[in-house]
């Protein structure tokens, strides 16, 4: 053992072990995932010890050209956060896939579309209209919107990426090896991911393709609140509507919509420990194909009224109608983080009266 330590010292001084090369990229994202990477505090030094960073737009000044010049598969691991929302994201995703041996979808946006994925309830035209015209703080009488190309007075052509109608997940764009879900991934899971990098740097070993760096059970397994065996809720409350939320009792039993029952665990139940319901950022539990459908199914099943057998009539009785009316925005609630990765992927928008064509 002593020898090893000496060796390490030697390595530090003279010939450091060959470092792995990593790239970190952000696409349609808030930047929180990059911050989450730094949340591992001093452990970031471990990363620097085993890896050279070749691209990290949020923190370091590398250019796309530098990466473009690299040989295919010369980057060991790419941590890609953010959904794919415009042509630049796609271009860089494809380039990084070509240059990287391992592609990791980092964070909920890259894994399932995330919050930017909710843009799939609208299309480009509608989004531009709100963003560049309708917002009260915008003064844009000529309705100037981003153009993909323009000529300057000097005759120089300038280009901008093309904004798409539909947000895509990373694995709808390129082949993805591993997934690190979370909005953002929690420190423990980032450390797990770093552990994978470290093991790879040391031994070249990797987990099986498609592995998700989180737990293989859903959040309820991790949650320590007491729950009723026979779950039935009569009224749905939003957290602020309750005077007091019992910190010991299952949130669903208290009438608060909690997505934990169909969401993958691994986050450490941090929202729940802060007395707030799970919103589903870790995505669907293993084996679930469609997160929203699974949550909808579970929530609908536990909505109940007093004496079921008496009250139900053929069709839709008022009580059921009333119960279901309490779920204000099923799509936005159940697919908050997973719309682009869902079965239907996006809302269908019919072309507005184009002369019946």
């Amino acid at each position: 053992m002593g020898e090893e330590k000496e060796e390490e010292k030697k390595e530090e001084k003279k010939e450091p072990k060959e470092k792995i090369k990593i790239a970190l990229y952000w696409a349609a994202t808030c930047g929180g995932c990059d911050i989450a990477t730094l949340d591992i505090d001093e452990k970031i030094l471990d990363v620097v010890n085993i890896a050279d960073i070749v691209l990290w737009p949020v923190a370091m000044d590398f250019k796309y050209e530098d990466v473009e010049k690299m040989e295919p598969k010369s980057i060991d691991v790419c941590l890609f956060n953010g959904a794919v929302r415009n042509s630049e994201h796609e271009e860089i995703a494809k380039m990084l896939r070509e240059k990287s041996k391992v592609m990791i979808a980092f964070g909920s946006c890259a894994c399932f579309g995330g919050i930017p994925g909710l843009g799939n309830v609208a299309n480009r035209e509608q989004i531009f209209k709100v963003a560049y015209k309708d917002t009260p703080s915008t003064v844009n009488p000529e309705f100037v919107t981003p153009q993909t190309e323009m000529m300057t007075n000097g005759g120089e052509k300038l280009t901008l990426p093309d904004f798409w109608d539909t947000v895509k997940t990373l694995d709808q764009t390129v082949d993805v090896d591993y997934y690190v879900p979370g909005c953002p991934p929690t420190v423990d899971r980032v450390l797990d991911a770093v552990g994978i990098l470290a093991k790879y740097a040391e031994t070249g070993e990797l987990p099986p393709k498609g592995a998700v760096v989180a737990f293989d059970k859903n959040l309820c397994d991790e949650c320590e609140r007491k729950r009723d065996e026979e779950k039935k809720i009569k009224r749905i409350y939003r957290p602020h509507e309750l005077k007091e939320i019992d910190p010991e009792k299952c949130l669903l039993d208290q009438g608060i919509l909690c997505m934990g029952l169909a969401t993958r665990g691994g986050c450490g139940a941090r929202c729940i420990n802060a007395n707030m319901p799970c919103r589903g950022c870790y995505g669907p539990s293993p084996e679930i194909k469609d997160h929203g459908a699974a949550v909808l199914s579970a929530i609908a099943s536990i909505l109940g009224v007093e004496d079921e057998t008496e009250m139900i009539d053929v069709g839709t009785p008022e009580e059921v109608e009333e119960l279901l009316n309490q779920v204000k925005d099923p799509l936005g609630t159940f697919y908050r983080f997973t719309l682009p990765g869902s079965m239907l992927k996006r809302v269908i928008i019919k072309p507005e009266k184009e002369g019946g064509a």
């Binding site: 194909k289 139900i312 079965m343 239907l344 269908i348």
Partner: protein, 141 residues
């Protein structure tokens, strides 16, 4: 355009419970009742077995309508399966509406094992309604 609509034959995925609606379909068959051939029936043990993702998957793959059949309220072979199905389907219809798919494309009916005629009538009616609605917006052609 008009001829297109006339010739349009909707594709219906029918998922029905073993004890009531599937038996009703069986009865409709043995009684030689006529109903349109647009429906493709899948038998499951209970209407509560039908996960909303089955329905979304059907739509994603181009079904024009989805027909769900279960036992009458109070008659579920598993006591309360159809109550759960009712809530799921009703909530799902609201969500389909948000997705831009007409909620009428998803239909839930209760037919007991003796109601072959009702089953035939509902399928006939559903097929006619879907013909009026036209092809599903998700149908890729």
């Amino acid at each position: 355009m008009a001829t297109e609509k006339k010739n349009f034959e909707p594709l219906i995925v029918g998922i029905t419970c073993n004890w009531c609606t599937y038996a009703a379909a069986d009865l409709a068959g043995t009684s030689r009742l006529k109903y349109p051939p647009n429906i493709r029936l899948i038998r499951v043990m209970c209407s509560s077995r039908i996960h909303p993702s089955f329905i979304l998957y059907s739509f994603a793959r181009g079904a024009d309508g989805v027909f769900i059949g279960g036992c009458h309220p109070g008659e579920c072979h598993y006591i309360d399966g159809n109550y759960k199905a009712l809530r799921r389907i009703e909530l799902l219809r609201r969500m389909l509406d948000q997705f831009g798919i007409e909620p009428e494309r998803l239909r839930l009916e209760w037919c007991s094992a003796a109601e072959g005629a009702k089953f035939a009538r509902e399928v006939t009616d559903f097929t006619a309604k879907l013909k009026e609605l036209g092809p599903s917006p998700l149908r890729s052609e």
